[in-house]
Amino acid sequence: MKVIVRLSLLVCLLASPCIAGSACFDAPAAEPCSKNEDLQQLPYITGHYGGYLTIGQRAEPKTLNPVTESDSASREIIGRLNADLIEINRSTQKTEPALAKYWKISPDGRTFTLQLRKGVRFSDGHPFDADDVVFSFNLYMDETIDSPQRDLLIIDGKPMTVTKLDPYTVRFTLPHPYAAAERLFDGFPILPKHLLEKAYKDSTFAQAWSLNTPPSQIAGLGPFRLKQSVPGQQIVLERNPYYWKVDRGNRRLPYLDALIFLSVGSEDAQVMRFEAGETDVITRLNPENYSLLAREQSRAGSQLADLGPSLEFNFLVFNLNDVTDKHLDETAAKQSWFSDFQFRQAINAAVDREGIVRLVYGSRGTPLWGNVGPGNKYWVNQQIPHPRCSLDDARQLLKSAGFSWNKSGQLLDKSGRVVDFTIIASTSNAQRMKMAVLLQDDLSHLGMQVHVVPLEFRALIDRVFHTFDYDAAIMGLGGGDADPNPEMNVWMSNGTSHLWNLGEKQPATAWEREIDELMQQQMVTLDYTKRKRLYDRVQQLIAENLPFVFLATPNILAAADARVGNFQPAVLDPYALWNADELFIRSGGTQNAGVR
């Protein structure tokens, strides 16, 4: 007995939390600015040097290779290590010069001539020039590497071409004009030819810049460079001493000595670590955790930001695919209801969107009646009607469509069958699961027997994209960029994400044909006002014809410790870290595992 007591005391003594504060990061100081560097000045930014930020990531990053990455945790880190030619300022949602000082667009909109900054160096000191740009884009478009981003550079089946005009001028030629082509450049980091050329020639490029690569072999043009990588635990970035942006006082950014990314495993773990003072920033929160932190805020001292509606849209989609050769007779029978326009209208009228926003998003969300919500200030069509939830209207519509009710209140179709279908939703998204349950209840008031079937994410994708063995699904899309072009594949009838009717050879309806034409047109229209008019009409057609029943969109919520200066989250990914080069630690700048 005594032995056990003594042992446990010893363990407790040894386990007293260690003093983490006294550790300092010997990060490199910023290089002094010289005259022959073409630096970009951010005239509204000021701060002071020192300190480090810790960020918890809910999933583990998988790779540091910008060409092969496909998950958001990796992208979050890769974005801090690298820079693009043209960047989209997440606050204003407009493009800004980055590595390209300025550019000229030819009158037909097909040729971009970019002037690069002179005297810029990679994080290992090696100079940057047009060779690196050409090399990088060849990597992205290479057919053997199969980068997920390759398709962005292929317009209508033809790749764009990159040519070097002189060491600091590059020309891009597109196969045909493409609206907002300059937005494409954000998301294609420029890679160092001197480090990666060998791997490319040896065909080992896919394994280059993995999590086990020594930091000396990785270099980029971003505000930070890799210092240490411990897979499964943390990735430490230190200041890039050669970064090419300066602040108001002509001091080289970034202010922070280091950025540390911790793998914490889940969103709840992110919140727990934040509350414990172990992390300083949460890039995206769900509404319950946000309310939790808000309640603790008075005792804690942290900055919480509610940035308003995001660019995502959640919706209910009905299976209108052609299933004649798939032996899905039951589904085919149900499609007679789904393809009835008034049926979909009735469902649209019966959905309690206010309830969804209140119960699923804790009132931190916005109801949607179209695919573009108010968060997308440049493209939203304000004229789309927002009818309130009305069960009477829904019943009227069903009656005029030939449906009726039996004695127990169940809805019957024209041939007397009970209206009974399933809605599938992914278990990995708790919000959409909740929406499914709310919809089930709403539709039960109309007498419909609706079953909610939670499916694991990939099982859901398999049914929606391959087997077409489902009735209806609740899914979410969007959130990438504000511009309509990235979503072409959803609205074009031959698009690969045309969820309600994949693989149709011809547009099935007149309005789908009209949308096809409009989207093609807006893709090549360079003038914003003309494009907006075309896209407004697309939104109107979508909202009127209801291929999707739109539900709601969440607000973007982020949190940071009170000491973080210049914290300016935005509704576009990566929400809180897009201006990592401008963040600094306010006075009292030494880091400690502060208690919240």
């Binding site: 709840d268 919140v271 727990m272 319950e288 955790n289 309310s291 939790l292 309640r295 309690d352 309830g355 209140r358 119960l359 399933t422 599938i424 278990t427 708790a430 909740k434 499914a436 349950v437 709310l438 089930q440 209840d441 079953h451 909610v452 079937v453 939670p454 499916l455 694991e456 099982a459 398999d462 063995d469 489902y470 009735d471």
Partner: protein
């Protein structure tokens, strides 16, 4: 014998009565629960339990009454009080017995709407608060208990039957039978069941009725779990079969089956009972994991498994304490089953 039984009952009455009561209440869920478990009250998500009052301006009442929740903070802004709801003191609802409320099916036999207690419409008696859709947790707890306890019992029975047969046969006969069975059990223990379950889900039609889901769930859990009881039992049987009385019985010409039944089985009874007591609550909790991958009981049917799933969120665990009710219920049920197992065990031992 009568005296022994009476003494046994008297000593253990303190938990036997609650155990029986618990099962009775759960079997009569529709009657005891004041509300329909699937009815959503969207104005009251995560509402705290209704407070029962006995005193108001006109003095003490024997019959308790409640107020409805309404959105908005508490008047005195007490930071420990839930600031999202306050009581609407304009209308009081008295608690009444044998009240007519939501319709339900009594034991699957006939429809009725008589409830043991409740309040008049539109008041809602929310004894354990509400969940994220404003559904009465207390009613869901009772109805969910039907499914969860039944699932735990049946799955445990399936596992134990399979496992004890396998363990007995393997331990007793030894040789290649033992090796094959133990090899199979090792196979079962090491396979990635998650993949298998995902695959099963893929082959199932999308909508399986709750009854069939339940049956499938139970069989799957039971089938997967037979390996560990089998191994434990085998170990016990291995030592038991070499005891003197077994050799003696064999000397008398007893058949294997007789020896198994008469000598070996009682030796294993204590282990079996302990296993049973462990498996039932474990299988109830296994529901949570299965619901996670789409094989559990589907919404809106409640079960302790899918109610517990909400507790995985940190914010819910911290802020809405009443959501812990199914964990508490599971806990109490498990403890009582252990006590039962212990009591049976000591009864068998003393014989």
């Amino acid at each position: 014998m009568r005296v022994e039984r009476d003494r046994f009952l008297r000593r253990n009455l303190w938990w036997i009565i609650p155990l029986v009561l618990l099962h009775l209440v759960i079997v009569l869920a529709g009657f005891v629960a004041p509300h329909d478990p699937t009815a959503q009250n969207r104005e009251w998500p995560y509402a705290p339990p209704t407070r029962l009052h006995f005193v108001d301006n006109s003095g003490l009442h024997l019959r308790p009454f409640i107020y409805a929740w309404v959105a908005g903070g508490d008047a005195n802004d007490d930071p420990d009080h839930d600031s999202r709801y306050r009581e609407d003191r304009t209308h009081a609802y008295s608690l009444r017995a044998f009240i007519r409320g939501d319709a339900y099916s009594f034991l699957g036999l006939f429809e009725t709407n008589l409830h043991l207690f409740g309040v008049d419409d539109p008041g809602k008696l929310l004894l354990f608060g509400t969940d994220e859709f404003g559904r009465d947790e207390f009613s869901r707890l009772l109805w969910g208990g039907q499914i969860s306890i039944a699932a735990g019992l049946v799955a445990a029975a399936v596992t134990l039957v399979l496992g004890s047969i396998a363990g007995l046969v393997a331990g007793y006969f030894g040789g290649w039978i033992d090796e094959t069975l133990m090899g199979t059990s090792e196979l079962f223990l090491s396979l990635p069941w998650l993949y298998f379950l995902l695959g099963v889900r893929a082959f199932l039609p999308l909508h399986v009725s709750p009854a069939r889901t339940f049956l499938l769930l139970v069989c799957v859990i039971g089938l997967i779990g037979w390996a560990s009881p089998a191994r434990i039992l085998r170990g016990v049987v291995l030592s038991s079969r070499t005891r003197n009385y077994v050799a003696a019985a064999r000397g008398f010409g007893a058949s294997n089956f007789y020896i198994l039944r008469r000598h070996v089985l009682p030796d294993t009874s204590s282990v079996l009972l302990t296993q049973a007591a462990l498996l039932v609550p474990r299988y109830i909790a296994a529901e949570v994991a299965l619901s996670f991958f789409g094989l559990g009981v589907n919404e809106p049917t409640p079960s302790w498994g899918n109610m517990l799933a909400a507790l995985q969120q940190y914010s819910v665990l911290i802020s809405y304490g009443w959501m812990l009710a199914p964990a508490l219920a599971l806990f109490i049920t498990s403890v009582m089953y252990y006590l039962l197992a212990d009591a049976l065990h000591s009864r068998l031992e003393s014989r």
